[in-house]
């Protein structure tokens, strides 16, 4: 099953099982079913609770927060994650703050879905990954869709938190299959440690390096790992958390032995460097595992640039499998 279908089924199931759930967004009604078809079939089945909105990201997020405040639950689709900037005030200054700023905790079950990332030629304002702008906001959790985590469980978890959550969804990942039990391919297997998918060489020993990436980079990380193994004889591990923030790998007992045994930790992410998720994760690792890390944590971001439209220009700016491969080689040998 492809990731888009898994997410679509998750929304169907959520609406079916919980009559207090609303889904709001632009152009999400059938037969169109949303710009990326993630909401396909929802409005025909649940016409009262699947609402097409005007082009008003701020009011969509605000109205969703109002529903949550009044005892409902809301899932918002921001057509392109870039447009979450238009809802920044409602998300950061209202929904997230309301959880705690009134003294007693106010449940705010609200999910803001953000189709993100490039590699599709949509250009500078339709290709970004905006995690870093929402990082570290009290009362706001960040999640990212991965090919490992069943989205129904992720949606349920976010709503159960009772605080607004952003769900980043890599647009290329939509078209990729979910990984079934255990195997990634003939070389690599995966398992869950807490909410973190851990991909390792099947039957392998200590990893020469460990990658930490959000779900959208998995299909660039795994080819990098194959190439590093087959061409450089380097065995890698890959960690893919479902919740990006808060995320504390050094505070996750099941991950510490792995991180302690590895020759290099490399955090790769989309988006430009500077105040990023990867830097935050690296800072935590440096502080918590200073005595056991063999080398400084290596970081991979996209180039310090807007994301160009033309395919050859876009490729130069965005993180590729080869970018990750080079960073690992440089980190280990450079």
């Amino acid at each position: 099953m492809r990731v888009a279908e898994n997410l679509n089924r998750a929304l169907h199931g959520l609406l079916r099982d919980d009559p207090s759930v609303y889904v709001l967004g632009e152009d999400i009604l059938d037969p169109y079913g949303g710009a990326f078809k993630i909401t396909k079939g929802l409005s025909e089945r649940f016409p009262d609770r699947v609402l097409a909105t005007p082009l008003s990201e701020g009011a969509i997020a605000g109205a969703a927060a109002g529903l949550a405040l009044a005892g409902d639950k809301a899932v918002v689709e921001i057509m392109f994650g870039d447009f979450a900037a238009l809802a920044f005030d409602q998300i950061v200054n209202f929904a997230a703050k309301s959880v705690t700023m009134y003294g007693r905790r106010v449940p705010m079950p609200l999910i803001v879905r953000c189709p993100s990332g490039g590699h599709r030629g949509y250009g500078p304002t339709h290709s970004q990954t905006l995690q870093k702008h929402f990082l570290g906001v009290p009362g706001l959790s960040l999640f990212e869709v991965t090919p490992f985590h069943d989205n129904r469980a992720v949606l349920d978890r976010m709503l159960a938190l009772g605080e607004p959550c952003l769900l980043f969804e890599d647009k290329v990942l939509y078209t990729r299959p979910m990984y079934g039990e255990g195997d990634v391919d003939e070389l690599f297997a995966w398992r869950l440690v807490d909410d973190v998918a851990v991909v390792e060489l099947a039957g392998g020993g200590d990893p020469d390096y460990t990658l930490i990436v959000p779900g959208g980079l998995v299909h660039r990380a795994v080819p990098a790992m194959r190439a590093l193994l087959l061409e450089h004889d380097l065995a890698g591990a890959l960690l893919v958390p479902s919740r990006l923030h808060p995320f504390d790998p050094a505070g996750t007992p099941g991950l510490v032995p792995l991180l302690a045994r590895t020759g290099l930790v490399c955090v790769a992410e989309d988006g430009t460097a500077g105040g990023t998720w990867g830097e935050h994760v690296a800072a935590g690792l440096h502080a918590r595992l200073w005595g056991t890390l063999r080398r400084p944590v290596a970081l991979v971001s996209s180039a310090a640039s807007v994301i160009p439209t033309a395919v050859h220009l876009e490729r130069e700016v965005l993180v590729q499998d080869t970018t990750i491969r080079s960073a690992v080689l440089e980190g280990l040998h450079g």
Binding site: S56, G62, A63, L67, D72, A74, D89, N93
Partner: protein, 293 residues
């Protein structure tokens, strides 16, 4: 000006005395941070009080003490919140501009509450027909895009959203003509939203005028904009009034006092005493503790 029931006048003057006391406490260095008093505008929430129901939600703003007191008659909890003392409505976390109690909520960002109120109104229209979401905003708030996004949504979705505009002619230090092109009425009309302007300071007249409109908004349901031409007597915040001195300001209480001196004197003395007692008692309380922290 028609005579008011003692109860109404007592509430009006509770708000007046509360706000005056706040400014005095600031001058004495007893208060931390900032505040925005509603001196001169007290009659707006007091007029609406009997027209709003417990099942209605109220969204207030930075200038919201009158809205809160008209809803709850709780000067102790409000002052404790502003002073950061035990018994504070929101444990001292929210302060003057960020209050929440039952179905009452205020936020400190202009226009932010309207989309939220629209979402609550959507919930009410589905689950509690007849109830509405009431949002107080000012004339300055109409500079925010959130207002228009929410009005559009409320009109499209036929939401029971009551927008009460306290048009006091000045946004912080900027006179309305310098910050608003056109009119509130014209802007409401652009969305096909019903608008009604009020230019009276008379509580009884306000109630008579707006009661049927509010009932219609509940029944249809549909959004409704009530625009009060009102008057901010005090500074925007504290000591920041740059309007030229000597320009006469219109005060409902001055008019009422002139018409009903005996009742005014009696009730004002009682309100002042009450606020003094509350202030002394709250000031003596220990600091608020943030229970959820």
């Amino acid at each position: 000006m028609d005579g008011l029931a003692d109860e109404d006048l007592a509430l009006l003057l509770l708000i007046r005395c509360f706000e005056r006391k706040l400014l005095a406490l600031f001058e004495q260095g007893e208060l931390n941070g900032t505040t925005h008093t509603c001196l001169g505008q007290e009659y707006v929430p007091v007029s609406l009080r009997p027209l709003l129901r417990d099942s209605d939600w109220i969204f207030s703003n930075h200038r919201g003490h009158g809205h809160y007191l008209a809803r709850f008659d709780d000067p102790e909890g409000l002052l404790a919140e502003i002073m950061g003392r035990e018994g504070a409505v929101c444990d001292g976390v929210g302060g003057s501009q960020h209050l929440r109690r039952e179905r009452y909520l205020s936020t400190g960002v202009q226009g932010q509450s309207l989309p939220v109120a629209a979402g609550v109104a959507l919930h009410l229209s589905r689950h509690e027909p007849g109830a509405l979401a009431c949002a107080y905003i000012g004339d300055g708030t109409w500079g925010e895009g959130a207002v228009y996004e929410a009005l559009n949504m409320a009109a499209l979705w036929r939401l029971p959203l009551l927008v009460v505009v306290e048009h006091n002619g000045i946004a912080q230090s900027t006179p309305t003509p310098a910050q608003m092109a056109g009119t509130v009425a014209g802007r409401a009309a652009a969305f096909g939203v019903r608008h009604h302007a009020l230019d009276t300071l008379d509580v009884t007249a306000v109630r008579r005028e707006v009661a049927p409109l509010i009932e219609e908004a509940r029944g249809e349901p549909a959004p409704l904009v009530l625009e009060f031409a009102t008057h901010r007597l005090g500074p925007h915040s504290k000591g920041d009034d740059v309007r030229p001195p000597g320009v006469p300001l219109i005060d409902w209480y001055a008019a009422y006092q002139a018409a009903h001196p005996a009742q005014s004197a009696r009730i004002e003395a009682a309100a002042r005493d009450r606020v003094e007692r509350v202030a002394a008692e709250v000031a003596a309380r220990p600091p608020a503790s943030w229970s959820a922290a």
